[in-house]
Symmetry: C2
């Protein structure tokens, strides 16, 4: 596995490996502290492309002033080991200085999709995502880019940017990978105390319950939301940031009275819940036929 | 010359001609109604790349609600003739529907550089430019893109976008092409009455005079500006939109007291002047050594 820390290095290696663009590139952009969720993306990238590229970059422009940029977990040695084991050919680990030699005067902003969910809780977050993804796509020129559906809103936002700006990259959403008890894998799980870790299972449990509740003839969007919230709040330390039910990928809210078993387009049940200072997100996508 | 009217057609032809990206592409994005200024860009693109690509697209997102989108001049037959004569291999002439099947939710916005000059007179103009240039660059994937310095602010904005977003395209600014009497070539010149056409020469004349005035030991930025404005206003129907003197390419205004012969970075003298309903722009770049 090649490790590139500068843009010049990355370009040189990609040009050589891809034979000037003739071999396909699968790309997994990450913020590092890789887990099995990332590994599943990396294996997918390798399986479906000639060259698999990983980036590890804790992008400062997607963190708010009071967020966890400084304490975001890092473990480069483990990241390099896991990425090599997962079939990555080129790992790109730039410094902040390399990616932002000067503050960017250019913004890539998506309206509409970013008003809700994490966009509402984390103002500016998706502007930072749009900026860094645009930069990384221009540097790596991937044929396909792999993103986990745990960040469903991020997938919707990036797909919108790709559509609107005619990026020549296929966005491949991949399923959320979970712990045996259902907790969605996240680099931020390491922040959880043992007690909070135990309680955090309430997120995936509520999503699983919702999958059943959704089948009930009288179940409306409003009732589903209140039932899910009630379930989450049964965990003593859970503090709900948001629980929302939205059409996917447009992220328009469902009408409170809408009957869930009559859904005509996919609906996303998405939640952000804090345990102490740790904010976890999870979601499930429900399809009109009742599938998940 | 291949004429592509759809994105699918463009991509297919570019892939074939460029042998999957192995041959270099020079790109000239335009709004059509081509003149010798465009021809000089097209010849430059052909001379320095394997494949020369032209786009003709009157981009609605860079026009304000009260601007001349509807009456912007068009002559496709002449455009195709001139582009073929200028060595273009692929002419891309998409419809608005092809470029914007839905209104874009994504914006590409440059702050700072776009507050002044045409950015101040035409709010949103450079957002539209940023959007369409991003789209076209993703579709054409040019190695080099050619822009006329008549739109100096546009060149600065696009160069900023390329730098900030790591586009893999070299921006090549090319000199303004002029009529024998000095009037900068512009598709909008056809709007001018004979009387206004005669008066319009005052723009290039004032720029030429400024080139001399700049050498005078006591000439300050403030005095230069007032002298240039006075000269322009000697044309009976000239209505000044702006005349500004800015550092280039940062577009920061010069101090009024700054002595012009002591310039330490290039300065742009830029103007927008209306004759009746026709708005003309022109500019000159002055270098620290007194060169132009």
């Amino acid at each position: 596995m090649i490790v590139a820390r500068t843009i010049a290095d990355l370009k040189e290696h990609l040009f050589a490996l891809s034979e000037g663009g003739r071999r396909s590139i699968g790309f997994v952009p990450t913020m590092g502290y890789l887990h099995e969720g990332h590994a599943s993306l990396m294996r997918e990238a390798k399986a479906n492309n000639d060259i698999a590229v990983l980036s590890v970059f804790v992008n400062p422009t997607q963190f708010g002033p009071n967020e966890d940029l400084d304490r975001y977990p890092r473990d480069e040695a483990r990241d390099l080991k896991l990425s090599e084991e997962s079939g990555i050919d080129v790992a790109f680990l730039p410094t902040v200085q390399e990616m932002y030699p000067k503050p960017s005067k250019t913004s890539v902003i998506v309206s509409g999709l970013t008003d809700r969910l994490c966009g509402a809780s984390r103002p500016g977050h998706f502007d930072g995502v749009g900026l860094v993804v645009s930069k990384l796509f221009h540097l790596v020129k991937p044929d396909r880019a792999y993103f986990g559906m745990k960040d469903a809103q991020q997938v919707a936002v990036i797909q919108q940017i790709v559509n609107d700006l005619n990026f020549d990259t296929i966005i491949v959403p991949c399923p959320t990978v979970r712990e045996p008890d259902g907790l969605a894998l996240s680099s931020r799980n390491v922040y959880l105390s043992a007690e909070h870790r135990a309680q955090a299972v309430v997120l995936s449990q509520s999503l699983a319950l919702a999958k059943d509740w959704i089948q009930e003839e009288s179940m409306t969007a409003g009732l589903l939301l209140s039932s899910v919230k009630e379930r989450i709040e049964s965990a003593p330390d859970a503090v709900i940031d948001y629980v929302e039910l939205l059409r996917y990928p447009t992220l328009e809210p469902l009408d409170e009275q809408e009957l869930m078993h009559k859904l005509e387009s996919p609906a996303l049940l998405a939640m952000a819940v804090k345990f102490g200072t740790t904010r976890l997100i999870d979601n499930s996508l429900y399809h009109p036929n009742g599938g998940v």
